[in-house]
Symmetry: C2
Subunit: 275 residues, 2 copies
């Protein structure tokens, strides 16, 4: 693991690190905010999974999470959204290939060699950061934005017991029924019969999540029709899922929206992480 | 109008009053909490519509609203849920007739003579209380429980401009598709073709509400399957309605649930009432 940078931030440290990933076969970069409390021992962990086109840096720089994470003594991990590099397959479209890993393990050529973001986020990166940093891996929660909201929700529901709470900002909620999902699943997995249960609405219709859920989506989200929020809302109620769904008036899909409600999300997770 | 009782409560006054209603042709009773600020001039108004089997008294005695209404200088009106009396038609079932007005105007015999709760709540009672008490009728919001949540949501959407905010506790959300609704609409209105648009989900699919919406429902609500919450949740998202839908873990349909979240609802309405 290499240290790219470390900056003092809200009494703690915002670091950026890279490492050779066996899951993706590439060098992967991630951001990690450690609050001051980490000097004295392991701290709870919040994962932030980013959306299409983002690297580890976007949320780290624009979501404003460090301020409130410091208040509550919580570490925040900002992974990248896909493998990257000249040797890694890509597509001219912004929503396929590099920057668009969708938090799944591809099985189809040319993607299958590198695009193993599920394994990377679910297995490899937690093992690495749990070993290298003072993190309490028994107290983890997860959030994300858009494609990263899809990742957060599907990871939380598919790995029961791993995360104490899950939230999302304008998540892709029903990818098997959206152009943000069908295109990528077809490319990465091929025939629809091979699509795994990586759809938050379908998972919610199944076992749901054993903990609290918080979802914020703007009423003026320019991508609102691609998100499938109504299907997830219905599934949450039908399953009697503990959770809050908030339609925030006038907000769009940007980091201006995310940062406006980041404090609410950190407080929400802090309550679960310190239970 | 007759004064039944007046008690000092949180620095203000909890009154109970009765009057002869032209809408229902009966004597109607209501509760009104006036905060201390009402001594100095008109105060904003929150309506609380109650559920099946309730009188004006249940919420007045068990919802705990006075404490937080006093904090924010807001009056709260607690109407009855139906006309009452020996000469008023009734049914052996708890969910039809007296105590089950459903906030609609009946057109079918034997109900049509007295069961005019829409006209009573939408027209007659506001005119009366606006004349008799120091209320700012230009600053009104509305909430309710179960059948009263249905009433609150349908009044708010059917009377644009009247209410600044609407909330509900475990509301009946889709009565045209539930045994809590179809039975009563059939009795009061007859053939389904005559059913007016008194269904929150159908109204939400139409124009929705021009202001914020807050809905709380318990995950352990013993009547959850009768409420139709999923249909309204989906309609809210599809319409991009400003609003929060919260599924509250472990709570049921009782006043223990209502009182637990009453402070949140009063604060929510106060923000709209003082805008």
């Amino acid at each position: 693991m290499k240290t790219i940078s470390e900056n003092r931030s809200f009494g703690g440290t915002q670091g950026v690190y890279s490492h050779d990933s066996s899951a993706t076969g590439t060098e992967m970069t991630f951001g990690l905010f450690l609050p001051a409390e980490a000097q004295d021992g392991p701290v709870p962990v919040l994962w932030f999974l980013s959306g299409l086109t983002c690297t580890h840096a976007n949320a780290m720089e624009k979501a404003g999470a460090q301020s409130w994470a410091a208040d509550h003594g919580i570490a925040v991990i900002f992974p990248d959204t896909s493998p990257r590099g000249e040797d890694v397959p890509d597509d001219d479209a912004y929503d396929l290939g590099q920057g668009a890993g969708f938090y799944i393990d591809a099985t189809q050529e040319p993607w299958s060699k590198n695009f193993k973001m599920w394994t990377y986020i679910a297995d490899e990166l937690p093992a690495l950061v749990g070993e290298k940093f003072p993190l309490d891996m028994g107290s983890q929660s997860i959030t994300g934005h858009s494609m990263g909201g899809h990742g957060a929700l599907t990871l939380a529901m598919a790995l029961p017991g791993r995360f104490r709470s899950v939230s999302a900002f304008a998540p892709i909620c029903n990818p098997t029924n959206s152009d943000w999902g069908r295109k990528q699943f077809a490319a990465y997995w091929g025939d629809e019969d091979n699509w795994g249960p990586h759809d938050a609405t379908l998972l919610m219709q199944g076992n749901g999540f054993d903990g609290p859920v918080l979802i914020d989506t703007g009423t003026d989200d320019q991508f609102g029709d691609l998100l499938g929020t109504a299907a997830l809302a219905s599934a949450m109620v039908e399953r009697r899922q503990e959770g809050h769904l908030r339609m925030q008036k006038g907000y769009d899909h940007s980091y201006y929206f995310i940062s406006s409600f980041m404090e609410d999300h950190i407080i929400f997770h802090a309550e679960a992480l310190y239970k």
